[in-house]
């Protein structure tokens, strides 16, 4: 580790506000262009309308940017918030941060929900939300020191770009005696060279004596941080207790915390065993149900899928407590110690890998046609070290590999690299090129949407073919689930506000396996309720896993087991106990609906947010190629004959592909109509004036924006 120097260039001393009912009612604004630091009050109306977390982030961003703002303009903001419930020790999943910015991939608001201690530490230091704007002319570190009651901006020299070393160095620098008091947000070298940069959020693992990571991965937020020349944001805070949030009803909070924590501790070992295997249990289940993406989402199953699931990783994960928040009984943030990479700057050295989770396994493994658990570890490690999103990397390289295998691109374009499916060394080399800022990896690092343009323009690739197989929507790469047989999940991805991430709605099994929502109206109802409830976690600073990955023993006997209503009731109690705002489960949905619609309007402000931007590639709906069709011939033939009453006796495979496509694309449009109607949106996907009025977001700028888009009622 090279020595580094921090030179203070701005500082503000403040009196830390008392937290009341989960809120500080203060926001922190840092502009790194002119090194100003401002602390502002948060109005009561803002609190009532936007609740906290993502709601606060979006409100600050709305006021920071114009419709013409691009991701690399100084006024683009990175906002980070916890939420009123965030920082409750012992409540499972109770320590999340939500980050937003205008994305370099989508041009619209991006949001990412991430573990680690930063969000709670920042709140306990005095700020419900922070906003970073401007662009520094030199490398900068921001410190929020709640113990010292100061906010500082430093010019930094000599600090490594390596994310792990950087985080450890700053943790030691700012609290050598109590490193657990420090949480660092940073990115890595590749964030500057690509549009796929992630943020690494740390917590100090006292037992292993090292910093641990969770990622705000999606949408290139790390790229924005790097563009601002902000090397790291550090929060320092001390003791966290049950009273840190000064809850309105401490006894009620203790009661509901104990109920949920104990249930998870008792039932997780009997259910998904996330405290032991994380989310790796999903790999074999997805594979068996034809939902594990294989070779750029062509197929959903591979016979080697069992080699990269829980059976293997359970034995590789380092044993010990792996909660990304204090006292979380889900404790799913596992890692691997003493892993030895076989490529790159860490070749031959022993390193710690935080992960992998399901998404990384599927994206960087099966989707690349690679079923080697150690290769996946190496991809995971270098993505984190270089500051890259493993989902966009996996889906993006899978697209490149299919383009290579189908002759859309060749070795003259890739710098001589064979990028066939299964090529481990060259997949890793792409990452190293992104970190070095050289080679074909620089093109891959622009994301699929840009690659489609570059491949067509410069390499003569077929735009129509790439449109079909390039798994992006709104500019964001798909996360790692096969949706061909689940129309509801096609909607879950296509209608997701930020792009195709599964955090809004995960309906594949309810729809495809259990046929729980046979009509368009059933699907539309699910695509209303689930996104609304899932949004609520991001408003409050929580993780969604404790809601429905470990469920009460009697849940299966309830009317709608997918909603896990008992837990929804506990969350309403949790919210009431902390904030003092009496809340029912229905109230939680209303809170989310307000922010959800506001984000949709925000997309409109940025030039998106209409029907054309909710389209998805045909690969996500059905078979693009003859090989895909023939691999599930029986399924597709049956669909044509039984569901669509088509006589296929004299049809070629190509004719059957075309006929199926026509039907499935029409179904997607019908689904969109039903969802828009359920959500109170126009046929063009814009919230109506009546909807924004009902939700209390009919601000003059919103009304004017709707009117400018022809929406006046």
């Amino acid at each position: 580790m090279n020595p580094f120097t921090l030179k203070e260039i701005a500082s503000v001393t403040y009196k830390r506000p008392d937290i009341n009912c989960g809120y500080t009612d203060k926001s922190l604004h840092i502009n790194v262009s002119d090194n100003t630091i401002a602390i502002k009050d948060i109005e009561e109306k803002t609190k009532q309308t936007f609740i906290g977390g993502k709601g606060y982030d979006l409100w600050l961003m709305w006021n920071a940017v114009t419709g013409a703002t691009k991701w690399n303009d100084p006024e683009n903001a990175i906002c980070i918030a916890s939420g009123p419930l965030g920082g409750t020790p012992g409540y499972p999943g109770g320590g999340k941060s939500i980050v937003t910015t205008i994305s370099p991939l989508t041009g619209a608001p991006m949001d990412s929900n991430v573990g680690g201690y930063f969000g709670p530490y920042k709140k306990f230091s005095g700020f419900d939300v922070m906003e970073i704007t401007g662009k520094a002319d030199r490398e900068t570190v921001i410190l929020i020191d709640g113990i010292g009651e100061t906010v500082k901006i430093f010019e930094v020299q000599g600090l490594t770009d390596d994310s792990y070393e950087l985080s450890m160095a700053l943790t030691s620098y700012f609290d050598r005696d109590k490193p657990v008091n420090v949480s660092v947000v940073s990115t890595g070298t590749a964030a500057s060279n690509t549009l796929l940069g992630c943020l690494n959020f740390t917590w100090f693992d006292a037992k292993r004596k090292r910093v641990r990571y969770k990622q705000a991965g999606r949408g290139g937020i790390g790229t924005v941080l790097a563009d601002k020349k902000v090397k790291a944001v550090v929060a320092r805070w001390g003791t966290v207790s049950f009273s840190s949030n000064r809850p309105a009803d401490p006894e009620a909070l203790k009661k509901v915390t104990k109920l949920h924590a104990r249930e998870i501790a008792a039932l997780d070992p009997k259910q998904n065993r996330m405290a032991t295997v994380g989310t790796t249990h999903l790999v074999p289940i997805m594979n068996d149900h034809d939902c594990l993406p294989v070779r750029n989402f062509q197929y959903g199953f591979h016979q080697e899928g069992k080699n990269i699931g829980e059976d293997v990783y359970e034995h590789i994960f380092d044993k010990g407590f792996d909660g990304c928040w204090r006292g979380c009984t889900v404790a799913c943030a596992h890692g691997v110690k003493d892993f030895t990479p076989f490529t790159g700057p860490y070749k031959g050295q022993k390193v710690f890998v935080d992960g992998p989770e399901y998404e990384t396994i599927a994206g960087c493994g099966s989707n690349l046609g690679i079923f080697d658990p150690f290769f996946i570890l190496e991809m995971n490690f270098y993505c984190d070290t270089y500051g890259l999103d493993t989902i966009s990397i996996g889906t993006g390289i899978a697209f490149v590999m299919e383009c290579f295998e189908t002759g859309q691109i060749n070795k003259t374009h890739t710098g001589g690299m064979d990028l066939s499916f299964g090529n481990r060394l060259n997949a890793l080399e792409l990452l190293h090129q992104m970190a070095r800022g050289a080679g074909f990896g620089m093109i891959v690092g622009q994301g699929i949407r840009q690659m489609k343009t570059i491949f067509a323009r410069d390499f003569g690739a077929d735009p129509a073919m790439m449109q079909d197989i390039g798994m992006e929507a709104k500019g964001l790469e798909f996360s790692e689930y096969m949706t061909k047989e689940s129309l509801a999940q096609q909607g879950g991805y296509g209608l997701a506000l930020k792009g195709p991430q599964h955090d809004e709605a995960w309906l594949i099994f309810l729809d495809m396996i259990h046929n729980f929502m046979p009509t368009f109206e059933n699907k539309a109802e699910a695509l209303h309720w689930f996104p609304m409830f899932r949004t609520w976690f991001g408003l409050c600073g929580l993780c969604k896993l404790p809601w429905n990955d470990i469920v009460p023993e009697d849940n299966k006997a309830t009317k709608e087991p997918a909603k896990v209503i008992k837990h929804v009731g506990w969350y309403a109690d949790f919210f009431t106990a902390v904030t003092g705002r009496q809340s029912t489960p229905e109230d939680l949905i209303s809170m989310s609906e307000t922010v959800y619609n506001f984000q949709r309007v925000f997309n409109l402000k940025m030039g998106y947010g209409t029907r054309e931007h909710d389209s998805i590639p045909y690969r996500s709906m059905g078979p693009v190629t003859r090989g895909e069709y023939e691999s599930r011939n029986e399924r597709y033939d049956k669909d044509l004959v039984e569901n669509y009453k088509i006589d296929i006796s004299s049809m070629t495979v190509e004719q059957k592909i075309a006929a199926l496509r026509e039907k499935r694309e029409a179904n997607y449009e019908k689904l969109i109509n039903a969802v828009y109607d359920r959500r109170g949106w126009t046929e063009n996907g814009i919230p109506t004036l009546a909807t924004v009025k009902r939700l209390g977001i009919d601000f003059p700028e919103v009304v004017a924006l709707l009117a400018a888009n022809g929406v006046t009622s």
Partner: protein, 65 residues
């Protein structure tokens, strides 16, 4: 005898996971079980034999990542 979610169930020679679930209530949303600590998914229920003295845990509705 086998144990299914901590409840005893009489074992028989041709017992499959599918037959175990048929004897249970509210299992229509069951897409996977743990049979002696190994995941068995629904496409394999009918062909997976359950040995005597097995321990089965019915996994909750799969909820995604």
């Amino acid at each position: 005898m086998i144990l299914v979610d901590d409840q005893k169930m009489e074992w028989f020679e041709t017992m499959t996971v599918e037959k175990v679930l048929e004897r249970m209530e509210n299992t229509e949303f069951c897409a996977a079980v743990r049979l002696n600590n190994r995941i068995v998914s629904s496409p394999n229920f009918s062909r997976t034999l359950v040995p005597d003295r097995s321990i089965i845990q019915i996994l909750p509705l799969i909820a995604g990542g």
